[in-house]
């Protein structure tokens, strides 16, 4: 682009060669070799991969055709999955609202609360949902309850993080107006900040619900209820054609939920 301003006939000079490129490439190759190697890493080699893939084709054949007569037996666990996702989203996103306001510089009452809240949030976010499910199953026994708890934590983490960043960026005008009219901290949040971030909050909550549907299909595998339980049972007995049915069902459910959520989000913004 600067070439246009240079005088005619003169080529723009080459940018100076930087050492950063080669160094980054070297570091990248070193890490990759380390990770793939037999001694230090996970022993990943491509020739073996190819033999495995050809051998695996025969196993994949067992997935087809889907055993459609298995379908009625999946409805109960599937509904439980949806119930878990709904309950967790309602509780989790509700809790995330105050947590988010405490975690934003704009609306937090003081620096101490702000730092503690931020710290707790980043720790909670560092653990994936299924690990919470594992721990809760160990504490409470199998069933949907530990699954719901895991999803609640996960939702609080996701929604509070996103919402607190949105609150950071709100228009300061209404806040000033509310202050000038003599409102306290809580009133400012309620009447000057909350209405501004409400559409985002709803969008984030819908997004969390979508993630829940996907996640609650998975956390059942470790014993936390829902369709994942059934997946676990069927794979133990090598009923791969039944698994295909479940997979197709999850796929359809995720698709439908996302369509609804996209429609609602469009209406909001």
């Amino acid at each position: 682009m600067t070439a246009a301003t240079a005088s005619r006939g003169v080529r723009p000079s080459r940018p100076r060669r930087s050492l950063m490129g080669p160094i980054a490439l070297l570091v990248f190759l070193a890490i990759t070799w380390w990770a793939a190697s037999d001694e230090f890493g996970i022993d990943f080699d491509v020739p073996r991969l190819l033999t495995n893939l050809t051998r695996g084709a025969s196993i994949l054949a067992e997935f087809l055709p889907p055993a459609w007569d298995f379908l009625p037996r999946t409805f109960g666990p599937m509904i439980q999955t949806i119930q878990m996702a709904v309950i967790a989203a309602a509780i989790g996103c509700g809790t995330a609202l105050p947590v988010a306001f405490l975690a934003s510089r704009v609306s937090t009452p003081n620096r101490f609360v702000f730092l503690v809240d931020r710290g707790v949030l980043s720790v909670v976010r560092a653990l994936p949902d299924i690990l919470y499910a594992l721990v809760f199953v160990a504490a409470l026994g199998v069933g949907p309850l530990p699954g719901i708890l895991a999803l609640i934590l996960f939702n609080i983490a996701v929604v509070a993080k996103l919402l607190s960043e949105t609150v950071d960026g709100v228009d300061p005008g209404p806040i000033e107006a509310a202050r000038a009219a003599g409102s306290g901290k809580a009133q400012t949040v309620r009447w000057a900040i909350f209405p501004q971030v409400l559409p985002n909050y709803v969008a984030y909550s819908l997004y969390a619900f979508e993630l829940n549907i996907r996640a609650s299909a998975v956390i059942g595998i470790v014993g936390a209820g829902g369709i994942g339980n059934l997946i676990n049972a069927e794979r133990r007995f090598f009923n791969y054609d039944n698994l295909t049915v479940i997979l197709i069902e999850i796929f359809v459910l995720v698709f439908v939920v996302e369509m609804i959520s996209i429609f609602l989000r469009r209406r909001l913004v």
Partner: protein
């Protein structure tokens, strides 16, 4: 807000009609009530819950654990998870780059890009744990290997979609210039498109690596290697002291890598050390949530 500004001075702006809002609230309440009332949770267990949770927390971090002598082993398992995530991300990156080009309307044709986009959406709809459990563990057996493959395949979905979107947003100038200079189709992509999109795509790869670290920690829970497997076993044998140590290691390593990778991403995209702003920049996959963004495609991280 705009209503107040454009309205003539006399009279307050009218309140918006509450009907739609009420209907949505009603539907929302009905759905939640249905879920709460019909779910098969043994409610009599609910009162014991806080005590049970406090007990396990106590045994993990205060009374019995964390068992610090287990630290080297725990770090070893976590390193295995990081390696799985790294290699899985590379597989995803290699496979997704060409798919990104084919999925971009301005580079490939409308029909091909639509087909590619739908395939990518399909891949994204199925979580990597399911990919591992259903496809790769039966195919190649337990261990780190199927986990890496599952992460690689699942990453293709998001990475391909994001790459295609970046490619669709390029400045057409360099492409025209390459064509005018007589570049062949592949050369046009290499010199007209790739330099424009590479920084942002590499940033996506790094971001995906952060997500994949969590995914690979999860994968162990179904027998696909890494720290998750160690955690499952320590919980099964009720070695909560070890589980506590593992959790601490997971949290610390994840936060460290997030921080390093986030710094790198900002450097790559902005070329300097200016801080960036906004959730969408920080977490590219949330770009769909930005107002005005075309959220046409289903699928998520």
């Amino acid at each position: 807000m705009t209503a107040g500004a454009t309205q003539p001075k006399e009279g307050r702006p009218k309140r918006p009609a509450p009907t739609t809002k009420r209907i949505f609230t009603l539907i929302f309440v009905a759905i939640v009530a249905w879920a709460v009332l019909t779910i098969d949770v043994r409610l009599e267990r609910l009162p014991d819950m806080p005590a049970a949770l406090a007990n396990i927390f106590d045994r993990m971090f205060l009374r019995d654990g964390p068992e610090w002598s287990y630290l080297p082993d725990a770090v070893g398992y976590m390193i295995e998870s990081v390696q799985i995530a790294w290699l899985g991300t590379i597989i995803g990156a290699i496979l997704s780059l060409p798919l990104g080009f084919f999925g971009a309307k301005n580079v490939s044709s409308g029909l091909i890009s639509n087909i590619v986009r739908q395939i990518l959406n399909g891949i994204r709809a199925i979580p990597e744990v399911l990919v591992a459990v259903v496809v790769f563990i039966p195919m190649v057996g337990l261990g780190a290997y199927p986990g890496t493959l599952a992460i690689g395949v699942h990453s293709v979905g998001t990475l391909g979609k994001l790459s295609a979107e970046v490619i669709e947003g390029i400045d057409p100038g360099p492409v025209e210039a390459a064509r005018a200079a007589g570049g062949r189709p592949l050369q046009i992509q290499r010199w007209g498109v790739l330099p424009q999109v590479l920084p942002e795509i590499v940033a996506f790869w790094l971001y995906r690596f952060e997500i994949n670290i969590r995914a690979s920690a999860i994968l162990g829970a179904v027998g696909a290697g890494g720290v998750g497997e160690a955690l499952v076993q320590s919980l099964q044998f009720r070695r909560f002291d070890r589980a506590g140590m593992l959790i601490i290691v997971i949290v610390v390593v994840t936060i460290l890598i997030d921080t390093a990778s986030g710094y790198l991403r900002r450097r790559i995209i902005e070329g300097g050390d200016r801080p960036s702003k906004g959730a969408a920049r920080e977490q590219p996959e949330l770009a769909v949530l930005r107002p005005g963004a075309q959220a046409d495609a289903p699928g998520g991280p």
